[in-house]
């Protein structure tokens, strides 16, 4: 993993410079400093994708044991989530963002959530996916909207936005679309028939929002 980084890349100031892509001016620096929350957004994304991979890992054996025809779907969703996690792992290493301090806690909670809902049955497992992906989709949408606003503002002021920044937005869009695809799969596979659906999704969505709030901070 370590040797994968080419040594002669601009090593140092690609760091933390994600939002300082525009021409260096006092204004740009001020903006860079004030938009550090966007770097913490990468931390939240990584924590979220970590949780998603663990949820699917924990759900797959009990769900597949009962309904073997769901194996390809679970595998497909897991593979996509693992790809997202790898993407964000690279991004936070590249931009020197601290990973969340509650990493072990999120791991335990996500595995517990995935396993519990899977043991409750296919419908509950799918309701869990539905709730999680709804929150995550909204979270990514808010992030993309924020980044697009920054791009518009920079372009209006005549700064060069830079490929790195545009690539980030493209990546986030692709990931958001894949998450929403999981949401569709979950609804197709009777997520809404889980009993009691409102309680299950309500609790899980509140949990997701709380985890996002905490991960932005620690």
């Amino acid at each position: 993993m370590a040797s994968a980084r080419p040594m002669m890349q601009p090593l140092r100031h690609c760091s933390r410079g994600l939002l300082a892509q525009a021409q260096p001016t006092h204004a740009a620096r001020a903006r860079f400093l004030s938009s550090n929350p966007s770097l913490s957004a990468l931390r939240v994304n990584q924590a979220g994708e970590l949780a998603a991979t663990l949820i699917y890992t924990a759900q797959t054996p009990p769900v597949v044991a009962r309904e073997p025809h769901l194996r390809p779907l679970m595998q497909h969703m897991y593979d996509q989530e693992a790809g997202h996690l790898a993407t964000f792992n690279d991004l936070i290493a590249k931009h020197r963002v601290r990973p969340t301090a509650l990493y072990p806690l999120w791991s335990v909670l996500a595995t517990g959530l995935g396993w519990t809902t899977a043991v409750m049955g296919r419908e509950a497992a799918m309701a869990c996916t539905e709730a999680v992906e709804t929150e995550i989709g909204g979270h990514y949408n808010a992030q993309i909207r924020q980044l697009l606003e920054m791009v518009t503002e920079w372009e209006a002021e005549g700064y060069d936005v830079g490929d790195e920044f545009r690539d980030l937005i493209t990546t986030l869009r692709r990931i958001r679309d894949e998450e929403l695809e999981h949401l569709d799969h979950a609804v197709e596979h009777d997520a809404q028939k889980a009993q009691p659906h409102w309680l299950l999704t309500g609790v899980i969505r509140a949990g997701c929002r709380g985890a996002i709030w905490v991960s932005e901070r620690v």
Partner: protein
């Protein structure tokens, strides 16, 4: 010789304003400012120029410390080493803890540290060198001793990025470091070498840093140093080991620095050996923890799979 001082402590802010008003035109000229040539004792601790700008004032986005080299030398070195691409003006560093005025004063005073220690005398001499009044160190909080120490920490830390090419090319002793662990050791050693010029004064500095009001800033500098070393070494861990690696490296570095202050061996050979032993111990401890974790994880998943094979629905 001594300018009139303001005795009222409540007027410190006003003093700063008063001082800065006449200082600004004097220290922010449009012409190039060349820092004083390095004193002999500090020249071994100076680092290569890492930006193309001759002073922090001409580079609004980057108040990295001024290099102690002259601009002509910088240009020569950059022509010799066109591959040094670690620094880019499109990716400014986060600003350091110093204003340009403070940085200018501290970089001048830093040259007097080997002779006078991290003291107000060094600051006054530095101020005189760059044509300021002896009282100008009053712009620094708390008399400036800690600011001078912090300047040393900040300056040496930011120097590492400029030295990294030479270190990884194997120009230091011991050949080119290959693994992340070897690179961490090489970088930590390079940072300890940065203390050589001030090592006789470093115990005093450690005592000042240990004062309660300075502990948070000192620990922050230590954490930033550990982060910098691991980043430059190419460590890309993004799990809880991010924290454990930084914590253990900080501890080891602080211990090695303390060892260095009493080390009289030529070239700080003993310090290097100490550093290597501590890092090896940390690596062994980390390996043991990992092995136990793997064993527990393997057995847990094996137990779950046995239950599943018996038909238990979990």
């Amino acid at each position: 010789m001594h300018p009139p001082t303001v005795s009222c402590s409540a007027g410190a802010a006003a003093t700063r304003r008063l001082l800065l008003r006449p200082l600004r035109p004097a220290i922010l000229p449009s012409s190039r400012l060349t820092p004083a040539p390095p004193s002999r004792s500090l020249s071994s601790t100076t680092c290569r120029p890492i930006t193309s700008s001759p002073s922090p004032f001409n580079n609004k986005n980057n108040n990295r410390p001024t290099s102690l080299h002259r601009p002509q030398q910088k240009q020569q070195q950059q022509q010799q080493q066109p591959l040094r691409t670690y620094h880019s003006h499109t990716h400014p560093a986060p600003p350091g803890p110093f204003t340009p005025a403070e940085a200018h004063l501290l970089s001048a005073a830093y040259l007097h540290v080997p002779a006078h220690g991290f003291t107000p005398e060094a600051l006054a001499l530095g101020a005189r060198d760059i044509g300021l009044l002896d009282i100008s160190p009053a712009v620094l909080p708390d008399g400036g001793a800690f600011a001078l120490i912090r300047w040393h920490l900040y300056f040496q830390r930011t120097c590492l990025a400029g030295k990294v090419h030479d270190i990884f090319a194997g120009e230091g002793e011991g050949g080119a470091p290959r693994t992340v662990g070897e690179r961490v050791e090489a970088l930590a050693w390079a940072r300890l070498r940065g203390n050589e010029g001030v090592v006789g004064r470093w115990q005093e500095a450690l005592a000042i840093m240990a004062q309660p009001s300075y502990v948070p800033a000192s620990l922050k500098e230590l954490a930033q140093l550990a982060d910098e070393i691991l980043y430059l070494a190419g460590d890309v861990s993004v799990d809880p080991s991010w924290y454990t690696k930084r914590a253990s490296l900080s501890t080891i570095y602080a211990a090695a620095e303390l060892f260095q202050t009493t080390d009289t061996s030529p070239g700080f050979r003993e310090t290097r050996a100490f550093l290597r032993r501590r890092l090896d111990e940390a690596a062994r401890a980390g390996g043991a923890v990992r092995a136990v974790g793997e064993w527990v994880g393997f057995n847990a998943s094996a137990a779950v799979n046995v239950l599943r094979s018996k038909g238990v629905r979990i």
